[in-house]
């Protein structure tokens, strides 16, 4: 027995002696690297995504996570300048910015300053650059005789093909204006389900009729053939869009629509080669998931070389990219921040982008801190670790972040999160007349958004003073931009009006002290929200407290998003909260949310969820929406905003601030909330990253040995007991 105990002690001592050695061995390696070690010094950017993109076909894709991928592959004619603010359009594949000319209803040319009412058509002539080539793609592969290799294949031919890279041959060809026309025609294809068909059919001449004619053609072809239908859109002319040369095409817009130029920055208007459309429409392709939704084809700086959104997506440098240079001009301060260090250099800088699926925030954050992601946002869970609030209330990086060389960039998003009243409601809406207005104004004063931002957003937002977020034409800063209903400008600062004013307004509304002046009953208001569960409890309590300041009882009705949508579509909710992200940086894109004919509870289910309808506002909107930016337009926008502030159909809510953290080896990061094709400007220093990763990720193995030792020690009494039992003589029971 003593001998065995002695042996055990010897083994334990040996473990302790060996553990530093094992630790020493470990120093030469990183064990927790989720990527192959051979890639450590490569020029690869590592990022993550939370939700897999559903559509990568530019005719259908319309969400930010999808744009994060395809905007770097597809190239529409225009783009946003990376550095300049306010946001400025510049050319991408176009040779120059398209300037429309105007025609009257008799197709006679009008002067450039013609009034919108006289303009029947706006003509956009767009010229693209010559010599731009598509990425290598099997749809463009040809044999030596010039015949396409993969345009006449059957399901049998591709029985061993599972991904696009299984096709052995690839090819390319030059981008032409016809490819842009083809893509615009695809918006109307019956199988495309393009989300902007409804909007564009209102502007592009003949698009609506074109959609109907394609549907007929599609049905006829489907009836005649059992094989998949492919409509060769080149054979179906669209009245308002045509190629006028190899490198020029024309778009005819109904009336005047200055915002159309912003649409030309979106992938909806990127080129699509007919060969790719045909290639993916062939028999057996869809069954194998070989579709344009999965395999984009573009002329941009990157191409999607691995699409496994259950795990990762890989963008690689497009070998056929036409080349582009980093901007040479920016805003004051950009040079000091190093944003012009690469001015004039050939882009893109990064060879490959690996984006990994990361659904949970905790692992994402920890991997960022370990250096395995180059950029990160900040969630509420990690805010305190990343940010500290300075003495003057300003937000700055925590010491831990600064020691790691992490940098912070912030920007107010071109978004708004608002609290809306349903203007169809008899208590808070139009039917309540002036009393309803006073009630809304009183609530607007009482709801302390400054406190909300401080408590629930860690200061990541600003209190909105109207429907327009900062950065948009018509947004005004300082005293000129104050909402006089809720705030005053005192001593160079915004100050919320006192609660006493809200109470006075409530008296005028017929609810003194929050009670109905006629019946004496407490006023009850209903708030429909999709915020449910324990996490939202504090927020809902906060909302109740805001209304309780006025003596109003707020009844929160949590609901799932589908029910919420139903209520909004039917106009049965009383109060709700919602948000809007800008499609493009024009005030029209926000003010249309309150345009009467856009009411959500109407037949066409528009975006005006409050069903607000003010004739003066509507008239001004109709005038403003077709104007170019000038003093007159600015004055109209100001009048519109004044009307809205007075009527208060929304509590204007919050313009959120986006926070991004990036490591010291990541360069040229400037928030651009309009552009999605910004990967090409980014640069990294892989050597610095490799060194830092090595420094931060040395494995710590000694606790394992200590743990094992403790386990063995604690098992020792059991072992001894076992030995005793084995040696003990059997007990004989006495009867």
């Amino acid at each position: 027995m003593e001998l065995r105990q002695d042996m055990f002690i010897r083994i334990a001592v040996m473990f302790m002696v060996l553990s530093p050695f094992c630790g020493g061995l470990a120093d030469s390696n990183i064990w927790n690297n989720p990527y192959p070690s051979r890639d450590s010094h490569k020029n690869i950017l590592y990022s993550d995504f939370e939700e897999r993109p559903k559509h990568l076909d530019p005719v259908r894709s319309y969400s930010s996570n999808e744009y994060g991928i395809i905007a770097n592959i597809y190239e529409p004619p225009l783009q946003y300048h990376y550095l300049k603010r306010p946001y400025e359009l510049t050319t991408l594949t176009a040779t120059q910015m398209p300037v429309p000319y105007f025609l009257d209803k008799d197709r006679r040319r009008l002067p450039d300053n013609a009034s919108a009412g006289d303009i029947a058509w706006s003509i956009y002539d767009i010229e693209i650059r010559a010599g731009i080539m598509y990425q290598p793609h099997p749809a463009l592969a040809k044999d030596p005789t010039g015949r396409y290799l993969y345009h006449d294949i059957s399901a049998d031919d591709i029985k061993d093909v599972h991904v696009l890279s299984d096709f052995e041959e690839v090819g390319t060809r030059e981008l032409t204006a016809e490819d842009y026309v083809y893509q615009i025609k695809r918006l109307a294809h019956p199988q495309s389900n393009s989300p902007i068909l409804g909007v564009m059919a209102g502007y592009i001449d003949g698009l609506n009729e074109y959609s109907d004619s394609l549907q007929v053609a599609y049905n006829e072809q489907a009836d005649q053939s059992a094989s998949p239908v492919w409509l060769d859109l080149r054979k179906y002319p669209l009245a308002g869009v045509k190629a006028t040369g190899k490198y020029t095409y024309q778009v005819r817009i109904k009336g005047k629509y200055p915002q159309f130029k912003y649409w030309l920055t979106l992938p909806f208007f990127a080129p699509m080669p007919w060969e790719a459309d045909l290639f993916h429409a062939q028999s057996g392709m869809e069954d194998k998931n070989l579709t344009l939704h999965w395999y984009p084809i573009g002329t941009g700086p990157y191409m999607l070389t691995e699409n496994n959104p259950n795990l990762r997506m890989v963008l690689s440098r497009n070998p056929n990219f036409h080349g582009e240079r980093y901007p040479t001009e920016g805003m004051p301060g950009d040079a000091e921040e190093g944003l012009l260090d690469d001015a004039g250099k050939e882009i893109p800088f990064i060879d490959m982008v690996i984006s990994s699926l990361e659904k949970e925030s905790i692992p994402r954050w920890n991997k960022f801190l370990q250096g395995y992601y180059d950029v990160s946002g900040i969630s509420s869970d990690t805010f305190d670790q990343a940010i500290r609030i300075g003495g003057s209330g300003d937000l700055m990086l925590s010491d831990e972040m600064r020691e790691k060389g992490i940098r912070l960039s912030t920007a107010v998003a071109a978004s708004t999160y608002y609290f809306g009243f349903n203007m169809l409601d008899r208590v808070v809406g139009h039917p309540a007349g002036e009393q309803g207005k006073y009630l809304r104004q009183a609530i607007a004063i009482a709801v302390d958004y400054e406190e909300y931002i401080s408590i629930f957003l860690n200061g990541r937002g600003i209190v909105a003073q109207g429907p327009l977020p900062p950065g948009l034409y018509g947004y005004q800063q300082g005293s000129a931009g104050v909402n006089p209903v809720t705030h005053a400008w005192e001593g160079g600062k915004l100050r919320r009006r006192p609660l006493s004013q809200a109470r006075s307004l409530l008296v005028k509304a017929g609810y003194p002290g929050g009670r109905d002046a006629a019946s004496g009953e407490v006023l009850k208001l209903y708030y429909d929200t999709v915020a449910r569960g324990p996490d939202s409890k504090a927020q809902m309590n906060w909302w109740r407290k805001q209304f309780a300041k006025l003596g109003i009882e707020l009844i929160v009705r949590p609901t799932d998003y589908n029910r919420f949508q139903d209520k909004m579509l039917n106009g049965t909710a009383q109060m709700y909260s919602w948000g809007w992200n800008a499609d493009y940086p024009d005030p029209e894109n926000f003010l249309f949310l309150l345009y009467g004919p856009n009411a959500k509870a109407a037949e066409n289910h528009g975006a005006n969820a409050s069903n607000y309808n003010n004739q003066d506002f509507n008239s001004l909107f109709e005038k403003m929406q077709n104007m170019d930016n000038n003093e007159e337009r600015l004055a109209i926008i100001s009048r519109m905003i004044d009307i809205l502030r007075e009527d208060a159909p929304w509590l204007w809510g919050i313009n959120p601030k986006s926070f991004a953290l990036y490591h010291g080896w990541y360069f040229n990061s400037k928030p651009n909330l309009m552009a999605n094709n910004t990967l090409k400007y980014k640069r990294i220093d892989p050597e610095l990253r490799s060194r830092k990763r090595s420094e931060w990720n040395q494995p710590v193995s000694w606790p394992i040995w200590i743990g094992l030792f403790i386990l063995i020690i604690s098992a020792l009494p059991a072992f001894i007991s076992y030995q005793r039992r084995q040696r003990a003589k059997p007990q004989v029971n006495q009867v």
């Binding site: 927790n32 989720p34 939700e51 989300p195 068909l197 909007v199 990994s356 370990q370 990720n697 059991a718």
Partner: protein
Amino acid sequence: MTAYIIRRLLYAVPILVGVNLITFVLFFVVNPPDQMARLHLGDRHVTQEAIDKWKEQRGYDMPLLVNSQAGGFGMFTRTIFFEKSIRLFIFDFGSSDNGRDISYDISQRMWPSLAIAIPSLIMALLVNIFFAMLLAFFRGSYIDIWGVILCVILMSISALFYYIGGQFLVGKLLRLVPISGYGTGLDAAKFIVLPVIVGVIAGIGASTRWYRTFFLEEVGKDFVRTARAKGLSEARILFRHVLKNAMIPILTGIVVALPLLFMGSLILESFFGIPGLGSYTIDAINQQDFAIVRAMVFLGAVLYIVGLILTDISYTLVDPRVRLA
């Protein structure tokens, strides 16, 4: 036995129809086709016409359960329920609402689930049996008492705590393995270690207690007393006799779970970034993709029924007294 299996398979048909019907009703009560279309098309600029077209293309424009405008059998066959359900019975899962081939996705995503589930099952079995036998061996002693208390503590802690704690301790503090992710081929090994260990630890408390009761039940039986009377050592009795008999309920409990290994773990896969069938199901629920939800629920029900039949068969194999009739 063949007749028994055939009878059980026939019983499965109404069960599967019922499961499918319940899934269908629950799903469409919460997600009417119009809302599904809105979610897929995005509701920024979507028109009712686009919604109607989306529904028509995917067969969601028909009545849900009863088509009063159709005559005869058409009342039931020309409905979303019939059209979407009938092909499941020949295991044709069709396409997801996003157009992806569901069978292909399942065939791809079951491997990561199995890569986690199989080592977890084997390791958990060995570890739990070891601890359960240890407690049974020291039954009534302080080791047994403290062991059971520890088991109760372990089983009282949420699985999420183990996942987050494991990532924090092993992945972040000790930096021994990647915190999350997955690789292909041999690269997968370093990603599997942590979820397997954490999964095993998370299950130790409940399983050890459960297995301990099996061992204790066997230890008190006559044949054990006989073995002791013959002079066999306690270890020999445990390993040779008690273990063999206690394994019958343990193995049958495992057999029922075997087919479900394919389905993966919903939360574990999500936390560790494992692209398996568990996360596939969660994604489908979040994206209101009825085609995938229906396919996964159906598959889960089929596998569960298969598991139960295998359990019955395994009884006959391990216990000669059991006969299937």
